[in-house]
């Protein structure tokens, strides 16, 4: 198909563009609230937040239907906390390098961007690795998603969050490749900022998952 693109990978747009109104110049690239992408990401995060809310509401609904003394059901001990808390520390600390990367590129620091993104990626991957390789096998020894509603909810909630971490990691890889190609600079970094928003969101949701799945049964 004869679609022609201006294939310039290195952006050379002057940040100010005339609109044609007498004497009016406006930024030709925006990445905060003046950009559409920012609001689009906010919209995505809102629906995602509601997905998680519905899941958590389902958890408490079934829990209260089970009655006060049946959670976790007889024969299943309340969850172990040591490992989940270590995982929490790792996941939450991953937000720091991502935040630093986001601010580094606003100053124009390519190095800060790359290091920060890499650091966030490694910490996030560690979290996911611990969940899949240590936490899940340990839990599966006690109960499975098919044992009862408690087991189903445990794995659905944590798994759904883990899936979001995985998606975040995939986006991170993409953004890192672009970063190594030098696609971002002080003016053009919408993708970095949006990725950072998403990543912080996934980290924040973990707080709710932690309270619901790991802490609340011990109350």
């Amino acid at each position: 198909m004869a679609i022609t693109h201006a294939t310039s990978d290195v952006p050379e747009v002057d940040p100010l563009v005339p609109t044609g109104a007498p004497g009016e110049l406006l930024p030709g690239y925006a990445s905060g609230p003046d950009s559409f992408g920012f609001w689009g990401m906010l919209g995505l995060i809102t629906t995602e937040a509601l997905l998680f809310s519905s899941l958590i509401a389902s958890y408490f609904y079934l829990r209260f239907r089970a009655g006060p003394h049946h959670w976790p059901p007889a024969g299943i001990a309340p969850p172990e906390l040591t490992l989940p808390l270590i995982m929490t520390a790792i996941l939450w600390s991953s937000s720091i390098p991502v935040h630093l990367a986001d601010h580094a590129i606003r100053r124009g620091s390519q190095r800060g961007l790359r290091l920060g993104l890499l650091g966030g990626f490694l910490l996030g991957a560690t979290f996911l690795g611990l969940q899949l390789i240590v936490e899940y096998p340990k839990t599966l020894d006690l109960f499975t998603p098919r044992t009862n509603a408690y087991g189903s909810l445990f794995f659905t909630l944590t798994g759904f969050h883990g899936f979001h971490v995985l998606v975040g990691l995939a986006i991170s890889v993409f953004v890192q490749i672009r970063a190594w190609q030098g696609a971002f600079d002080r003016h053009r970094h919408l993708m970095v900022r949006n990725f950072a928003m998403y990543w912080h969101f996934v980290d924040a949701v973990w707080a709710l998952i932690l309270c619901t799945v790991y802490l609340s049964p011990r109350l």
């Binding site: 693109h5 044609g20 109104a21 690239y29 003046d34 995505l44 919408l190």
Partner: protein, 634 residues
């Protein structure tokens, strides 16, 4: 500075060069123009209206007489399920996205939607999910547990086989499209309004689309979660809904109706917005109580989230909860009442012109009031317990849905198609179509109130003679076919006007909003200059807007430096930035195809196929986000 962005120099490319899209049939695959996407939505949704309509006619034929055996009970179950699913998810919501897609950027003076490629993606996913759901007919595994699909009837125990998997996965699939569209509308409406279009100058139809989009963003995830849980339970043996393992079937009902009640408003609000767009034009009078209508729309969207349990009065919920919800279900009638009074006031204050679109509006008013009244009757709990799941319910919601959606929609079609095609629809044929539809509708659905009070349950495959149901059923069936004929007349009118319609000109009706300030059909860039508006009815108050492009001295912005559009501030619409828009691309259609293959893989448990689909999807995504040109869309 390597690239030159000088809007004033004569060397800059023309709008045609910057906005022109590839021509020819294949370009319908790659287009990102909101107008062509809107048209695709519109036509596809109408095809699904026909599919859902045919299904309902077969049902009505089966019920015309007692003890008929036109179709088997199994097929009957499949038909009412697919009819409900089709009408709600593949017709009503997408057709409003279609109108919105076409009209919202024009009405707010923008050059496209905020995310043109996401827009294309939304359309393709909608089409793919429709194909997915209807492919169930090919394999003979059509969903058959009703559009609200109650467990345990739809659970693994009572619904083995993959029929319900088509339902659960299909709804997840179509939700992707609906959500993408909704986010796009929200950003477009909040960030792309023409300079001067402050928040109190947004056309009411656009408000309707905005209310719909917010409701989608907040309500649809709950349905998605319900379907994901159901699918996990069906395919992988999880337990959420079966009481034997600590689950609860009522969880499904809660999740479904937390979504399901707002869904009704998702459909109704933009349709009411259409009515509010048509009435001023055809009465020549500004809308009475603009601000009240806007508040009412928003209030409806909000209250809609609080009343879902009124669908569950007969499930044995606690009495307090029921009383509370019953009360708020009465309240929800108030905002609708406000709007109805505002419309009637405008009609009385102005001089109504009885053109076809206006006839549909009047028909709507009558039918909608009846539907609203029977709705308030349900809020009385004892009455609800009497007519629950009887044909009275079917009557009520078709008065609301067909009356509240189909009539405004057809009015809107007569009103706006001339803008889209450049040709007028036939007026005489239009009137015939309206009267046939109006008569057919009432003949079809009014007797259902009677059938319901006489005790005929909904979803009955057939019935015995001598129960008093025979007469009303026959009448209802006749009405259904009459209604079908009326709809067909409009479709014929649409086709006919394509070749024989009178040229429409820019503004055939004397409308008050910005879409009338450009040609019919509009050029790819919508407006030669992005206008500055100074009131709620710009084309009435700024007559020079009709004379062609607003010159830069008067506030028009030519934005010539590229494939550009304007980003404006949220509240008062002051220009904030210039945004580079993406060009036509195949990435969205490829990604959607990947999704279709992937969903097929999952429904059949063919995991290799699912993997192939996921890979194609990922490929499409990478192509999408790999910046090739100076766009800044993500």
């Amino acid at each position: 500075m390597a690239t030159v962005h000088d809007a004033t120099s004569s060397s800059s490319p023309s709008l045609e060069e910057m906005w022109g899209e590839p021509q020819g049939l294949g370009s319908w695959l790659s287009t990102v123009d909101h107008k062509r996407i809107g048209m695709k939505y519109l036509v596809t949704a109408m095809v699904f209206l026909v599919a859902g309509g045919v299904e309902s006619l077969i049902m009505r034929a089966q019920l015309a007489q007692p003890n008929l055996h036109l179709i088997s009970p199994e097929v009957y179950n499949q038909l009412f399920t697919m009819h409900g699913v089709t009408m709600m998810f593949l017709f009503a919501t997408p057709v409003l996205s279609g109108f919105g897609n076409y009209l919202v950027p024009l009405m707010i003076g923008a050059r496209d939607m905020a995310f043109p490629r996401l827009n294309a993606f939304g359309y393709w996913v909608f089409l793919a999910s429709g194909i997915f759901l209807y492919s169930a007919f090919l394999t003979g595994h059509v969903p058959d547990a009703g559009w609200f699909n109650y467990v345990p009837l739809s659970g693994p125990r009572f619904a083995p086989g993959i029929n319900i998997d088509f339902y659960a996965l299909g709804l997840i699939f179509v939700a992707i499209s609906t959500t993408a569209g909704a986010i796009n509308f929200i950003v477009t409406i909040l960030k792309m309004r023409a300079p001067g279009m402050s928040i109190n100058r947004i056309p009411i139809f656009v408000w309707g689309e905005l209310a719909m989009s917010f409701s989608i963003v907040f309500a649809l995830p709950t349905l998605t979660v319900a379907c994901v849980l159901l699918e996990l339970e069906r395919k992988f043996g999880f337990h959420f809904f079966d009481a034997g393992h600590g689950g609860d079937p009522l969880l499904w009902q809660h999740l479904f109706w937390i979504f399901g009640h707002p869904e009704v408003y998702i459909i109704i609000l933009p349709a009411l917005g259409m009515v509010s767009a048509l009435i001023p034009t055809f009465t020549g009078r500004r809308m009475v109580g603009y601000i009240w209508i806007v508040i009412a729309e928003m209030a409806t969207a909000l209250i809609g989230f609080g009343v879902w349990t009124h669908h569950m009065f007969t499930t044995g919920l606690p009495q307090v909860a029921i009383s509370f919800v019953a009360l708020s279900s009465f309240f929800i009638a108030i905002p609708s009442g406000v709007q109805i009074f505002a419309w009637i006031a405008t009609l009385i204050a102005g001089r109504p012109r009885l053109k076809t679109p206006m006839l549909f509006v009047l028909g709507f008013l009558l039918v909608f009031v009846i539907g609203g009244l029977s709705g308030v009757m349900f809020a009385a709990v004892p009455f609800d317990q009497q007519v629950h799941d009887s044909y009275f319910v079917i009557a009520h919601f078709h008065y609301v849905m067909v009356g509240g959606l189909l009539f405004p929609l057809f009015g809107a079609l007569y009103y706006w198609l001339p803008k889209m095609t450049g040709r007028m629809m036939g007026e005489g044929l239009g009137k015939w179509s309206f009267w046939t539809m109006f008569a057919g509708f009432n003949v079809c659905f009014f007797p259902m109130h009677v059938m319901g009070i006489l005790g005929q349950p909904r979803r009955t495959y057939t019935y015995q003679a001598g129960l008093g149901w025979t007469g009303p059923n026959l009448i209802s069936t006749i009405g259904a076919f009459l209604l079908g004929l009326g709809i067909a007349l409009t479709f014929w009118n649409w086709v006919w006007s394509r070749w024989h319609g009178a040229p429409a000109g820019n503004d055939p009706w004397g409308g008050d909003t910005l879409e009338w300030a450009t040609t019919s059909p509009p050029p790819e860039y919508n407006f030669e200059t992005i206008p500055t508006v100074a009131s709620l009815e710009p084309t009435w108050d700024q007559p020079n807007l009709r004379d062609g492009a607003q010159p830069p001295e008067a506030g028009g912005r030519p934005l010539l430096g590229g494939h550009l559009t304007l980003s404006t501030s949220l509240l008062d619409g002051t220009p904030r930035a210039v945004v580079f828009m993406p060009h036509a691309t195949l990435a969205p259609v490829i990604a959607s195809l990947g999704l279709l293959v992937g969903f097929w893989g999952v429904v059949f448990g063919a995991w290799l196929l699912a993997g192939v689909g996921a890979t194609v999807f990922a490929g499409g995504m990478i192509d999408w986000f790999w910046p090739r040109h100076q766009t800044q869309e993500t």
